[in-house]
């Protein structure tokens, strides 16, 4: 079972994504809804992959949170966003070891992306 940290402030989307992944029997998903909590979580229980929403509540957005995480961890990240804004894509890519998917996310796309990133590890 691979540990996944899902940072998503929309509870329904978070729950649906968690169910989607856990149904495969391959993942154990933890959900958080803001950047600072994700940073603390990562320091204590580092996951094998992060699913990060870009627009999240709080002082840090998804990309800013990843910049903070990158200071101590190179864990792969898949950004999930409502709209694939090209500027956001550029900013996200700069954090490294990442992929980018737009919501609503299809399980096939998500599994493919996770597989590619974990294979690179």
């Amino acid at each position: 079972m691979k540990k996944v940290l899902l940072v998503e402030d929309e509870a329904i989307i978070a729950l649906s994504t968690k169910k989607m992944l856990e149904k495969t029997g391959l993942f154990e998903v933890s959900i958080l809804d803001n950047g600072p909590a994700a940073i603390s979580f990562l320091k204590q229980q580092p996951p094998q992959i992060i699913l990060m929403d870009i627009k999240i509540v709080g002082v840090l957005d998804g990309i800013e949170t990843m910049h903070e995480i990158r200071k101590f961890s190179q864990v792969p990240v898949i950004y999930l966003t409502g709209n694939s804004d090209p500027r956001a894509r550029v900013r996200a890519k700069a954090t490294g070891n990442s992929d980018f998917l737009t919501k609503p996310v299809e399980i096939s796309d998500l599994l493919q992306s996770i597989s590619i990133l974990l294979d690179l590890q």
């Binding site: 649906s16 169910k19 090209p86 919501k103």
Partner: protein, 530 residues
């Protein structure tokens, strides 16, 4: 007296009309007046000859009289140049006759001078060749006369009994003619000089008034030292100084808020030398320390005597403020639109997630398929909002690009079952508004999904071709099963299916036309006007 004045005015106005320019009208008037004076002289002479029974060269004299009348006729017919040439010829011919009569060339030559002045003010001074030809004519007459010996009293065998009286009359008429011509000449010169002078003065006053009262700051810069040599009242007000003396002697670059480096100044100078003019928006500092924005236009002006630069500075501070406000407002609206798109797409993602969560509790495959279909419908709308977010217009999307993404999404949804579904697209770049894009997207989602679903159900591979074309305002979308596919799908929409209900409702919404054929393979055609 009044009658004489009326006659004089009538004669002066022969041939005048509104279409003639002012200088030409003056020349026409002088031509008529001189011709009239010459005609009067001619009549007086002829009367004297009759009274004193002088049988002079009468044929020549009658001919000259006719020529004077012909001048008026030509002017009346608007043949002005011909009339002027004829006047000169008539005057010279009349002069020749007088010289013959007088018998003494020295006094008679007095008449030559006023007559020779005539061409100078009846012709346009730019017609130098014509004037020269007219001046040459009397000399040609004399050369011809001298060589032929024709211009003598003896040659004409004229009998003159009271020649002394006639000679006195000619002396008097010479003086009168000379006075008249000189009068015309002086008046013409004086009036044109006065007119020129008053025009120049008026022009100078007008230029000075425009310069001083311009609603832009105007400055004149000496090319030798680059310093301001004159400035208008608005410059004084704009730079908040006491008088123009505060500006005179300063350089415009010294008035700028951000001082230019020597390299920048040199670069601007070189550009100005090449282009002879420059313009730009510059922030200045007034003498009281306040700053303002100016639209600066610099123009190099070169005259015979002077070489200078004219600088115009328009105060655009308010415009700059408004532009900044407008930019802020546009930025705010862009953020708002982005946020709305994001919210719409996020909400659609929530609805899709809810359906997914709900479907997790269902074991019935038929019912699960219903949930999946609903999710795909939501996905197709969500995709529209994603494309809108990227496109520069807030209400148009590139539907070709959208269709490419939609087919990829549908293909991904059906390719998990190893169905062998292959979708090939041939899509033009077509821009659709949101109110047409959403129903069209839903129709295509229904049709492509239906073909894929049937292919999966039959467990065979299928190739679907999707084409999008636009001719004038007509959009045509074709979805067809490849003829070479071994299976034949019966994908005709039955009347009671949800798909047909949705497709027909959406085609009606588009005011379009939908045709389905099932020959070798299924073929759907959707057409509508944009």
């Amino acid at each position: 007296m009044k009658v004489i004045l009326n006659i004089w005015n009538f004669i002066s106005s022969i041939g005048q009309n509104a279409g003639i320019l002012e200088p030409e009208q003056k020349r026409l008037k002088i031509t008529n007046q001189l011709n009239f004076v010459a005609l009067i002289f001619y009549l007086i002479f002829n009367t004297v000859f009759l009274v004193f029974d002088i049988h002079l060269i009468q044929f020549d004299y009658y001919l000259t009289g006719l020529l004077f009348v012909a001048v008026f006729v030509l002017n009346l017919k608007q043949k002005f140049i011909s009339a002027r040439l004829l006047l000169c010829i008539s005057l010279y011919w009349g002069l020749v006759n007088i010289i013959i009569l007088y018998g003494k060339t020295l006094e008679a030559n007095l008449l030559l001078f006023p007559v020779m002045l005539v061409p100078f003010f009846i012709f346009d001074m730019t017609r130098t060749r014509l004037i020269f030809a007219m001046l040459l004519m009397p000399f040609l007459f004399f050369i011809f006369g001298s060589l032929s010996g024709l211009f003598t009293l003896e040659a004409y065998a004229v009998k003159v009994d009271n020649i002394e009286w006639v000679q006195r009359m000619i002396q008097i008429s010479s003086v009168i003619a000379f006075s008249i011509v000189i009068y015309f000449f002086v008046r013409s010169n004086q009036s044109s000089e006065q007119a020129m002078e008053s025009k120049n003065t008026l022009l100078q006053q007008q230029i000075q008034t425009i310069f001083e009262n311009s609603s832009d700051a105007l400055m004149i810069i000496d090319n030798k030292n680059g310093q301001i040599s004159d400035a208008n009242q608005f410059s004084v007000e704009l730079f908040d100084c006491l008088s123009k003396d505060s500006l005179i002697g300063k350089k415009v670059s010294h008035l700028m808020k951000n001082k230019l480096s020597d390299v920048e100044l040199q670069s601007y100078r070189e550009r100005f030398i090449q282009e002879k003019s420059m313009s730009g928006e510059v922030e200045f500092t007034s003498f009281k320390g306040t700053t303002f924005w100016g639209e600066v236009k610099l123009k190099h002006i070169e005259t015979k005597q002077l070489s200078y630069q004219l600088v115009r500075i328009a105060d655009i501070t308010q415009r700059k403020k408004q532009e900044a406000l407008m930019q802020d407002s546009i930025r705010e609206k862009e953020i708002l639109i982005d946020e709305i798109h994001h919210r719409v797409k996020n909400n659609l993602a929530i609805v899709s997630s809810l359906l997914h969560l709900q479907s997790g509790k269902i074991n019935d495959t038929g019912l699960l398929e219903v949930f999946e279909e609903s999710r795909r419908r939501i996905q197709s709308i969500a995709l529209i909002h994603e494309k809108l977010y990227h496109f520069e217009s807030v209400e148009m999307i590139d539907f070709g690009e959208y269709l490419e993404s939609l087919t990829t999404t549908i293909h991904a949804a059906f390719s998990t079952n190893n169905s062998g579904v292959d979708i090939r697209c041939n899509l033009q770049e077509v821009h659709l508004k949101l109110h047409q894009a959403i129903p069209c997207a839903l129709i295509l989602n229904e049709l492509i999904s239906l073909l894929c679903k049937q292919s999966v159900q039959k467990g065979n591979g299928i190739e679907i071709r999707v084409s999008l074309t636009k001719a004038n305002a007509q959009i045509c979308i074709n979805i067809e099963q490849n003829n070479s596919t071994s299976i034949s799908l019966n994908s005709e929409l039955s009347d009671d299916s949800l798909e047909i209900t949705l497709v027909h409702a959406l085609v009606n919404q588009l005011n379009g036309k939908f045709v389905q054929k099932n020959d070798v393979g299924m073929h759907y055609e959707l057409t509508f006007e944009v």
